[in-house]
């Protein structure tokens, strides 16, 4: 009997919760890039605190999903970690921050520098041994990303490769898995978002960042726009949007969140001005 009573109380409680959420709050749905999502979640939390009547719902699934959901009206805003393509002119992009992609090695790897051609040769399988680029006499373990990820697209574009040219030994999904994999295998080379890489390297993970095309992998180079593999983090909308959505986008682009963006090791658009 007691149990039964408890269950009824819980059910009534839940009904109340659901109904008050539905009645009084405006929902903003965001889906897309796993790079942008953690940042937007934090900005969203801050926005919710300032505007209690708004509920921000963030789901990951990659830039392609971000675009697709906005096309099919499944979300209000798409998150993409790249520029809009030419065939995506129906959308409007709102840049909130910049990110770079950098090449990472295991911390104990004694290779200090790799030229553009070195990286290209390693990923296409023309160089298979670390000795050829000044390291130990061991096989190079190439870590590539799974199809559809924007990091992959950007990396391939910068080095002028097709995905079928890459001779990979391991394929990973998101940034974190890439970092874990490099930290776990001393002979590996991979590429991830520069913000995530700097964050993990400073927090003791066994990875190190190397220069890209002779430019040091650090945030100031992303900030001044000289870093070679750069990408914007964009919020994407289609057609007419509601007042709340516009307010949120303006908030995400404002100086009020540049501290959050810095914490995530991205570069705020406000810093460029």
């Amino acid at each position: 009997m007691y149990k039964f009573k408890n269950i009824i109380i819980i059910i009534i409680g839940l009904t109340f919760c659901v109904s008050c959420n539905n009645n009084s709050k405006t929902k903003i749905e965001l889906t897309g890039s796993s790079t942008v999502a953690p940042l937007i979640m934090e900005i969203g939390r801050r926005f919710e605190r300032l505007n209690p009547h708004i509920l921000i719902n963030v789901q990951t699934g990659g830039s392609s999903r971000g675009i697709n959901d906005i096309k099919n009206n499944l979300s209000n805003i798409g998150m993409i970690s790249r520029e809009l393509k030419d065939n995506e002119a129906e959308f409007t992009e709102h840049t909130i921050a910049w990110d770079g992609i950098t090449v990472i090695l295991h911390k104990e790897n004694n290779v200090k520098q790799l030229s553009h051609q070195d990286v290209l040769n390693i990923f296409t399988g023309k160089i298979k041994n670390w000795q050829k680029v000044g390291g130990v006499n061991k096989k190079i373990v190439v870590i590539n990303k799974a199809e559809g990820r924007s990091t992959l697209e950007l990396f391939l574009k910068h080095f002028g490769m097709k995905n079928s040219d890459v001779e990979a030994d391991i394929i990973v999904g998101d940034n974190q898995q890439g970092l874990n994999m490099v930290a776990g295998s001393p002979l590996s080379i991979g590429y991830v978002s520069i913000g995530a890489a700097i964050f993990e390297a400073e927090n003791g993970m066994s990875v190190k960042l190397i220069d890209i095309d002779g430019l040091e992998s650090k945030l100031s180079n992303v900030r001044n726009g000289t870093f070679p593999i750069l990408r914007p983090l964009n919020l994407v909308t289609r057609g007419q949007t509601s007042k709340e959505v516009m307010e949120f986008i303006n908030f995400a682009q404002s100086a009020a969140v540049s501290d959050v963006i810095n914490q995530h090791y991205f570069v705020s658009t406000n810093a460029n001005k």
């Binding site: 373990v141 990979a168 391991i170 990973v172 999904g173 874990n180 994999m181 776990g184």
Partner: protein, 280 residues
Amino acid sequence: MRTNKAVELMLKASAILVVMVLIFIFSFIFFKSLPFITDNQLSSLFVDDGWYPTTNNFNLFPIIVGSISIMVVPLLLSAPLGILLALFCRYYAPKSLAKVYIALIELLSGIPSVVYGLWGVLVLVPWIGQYAPPGASLLAGWIIIAIMILPLMVICVDNQLALVPKKWLSGAQALSITRWGTIWKIVLPSCISNISSGLILQTGRALGETMAVLMVCGNIVQIPTSMFDPIRTLTANIALEMSYATEMHVSVLFMSGLILLLMTSILMSLAYAFKRQPVE
């Protein structure tokens, strides 16, 4: 009588519900893969130039081989060990030790696969990598899967051993047959077919395992030529690419889900074929 009617109705309703769910899942996966089936020839799954779904190359064959290869060896590794451990617990170990042992094994079977995967990435893969880079490989997958299904195997065999009639055992004892003789000539022959059936069902788990395999196997689409080669399985393929896929890519991933379902069904019917009615 009235309560009986109500119970009967409830039982029937839940039986129908389960069948409906099954039919729904089958048809959902089938309709989702229909765009691929109508637009492409099924043979493209086996003859295309590699797996590059964004550029319409859909050769799934190496991934199917990967799924099968990740399943067979752990079965061969853990089945004999599982049978021996269960026999030990039931017929050799002191009662108190056996109880604790079975409890520990049940605990082991409750560890989420992602935990095994994490251990694999941080310990197993670097260790294999020292001898045969890249380390993420078929072998790493075998070891993880074998460790994962071993407790399930022990529990499954132990359950079958519990069904052996007590009077057979006391009869054997009265005839002063040795313990091993009893096991070898009486216990095992009576339940070996049900044990095999159970073991095959557990192998189905190896086929369906996703997270741990995704983390330690390297996910390269290739037919492995040695156990140090990285491979990709059907489940890992779906998990890696589904959330990033669009259009035909989604459809071919559902197609691979359909193939996975087919493979599981084959395993199930195999297990069913082995199964015998319990002995009197």
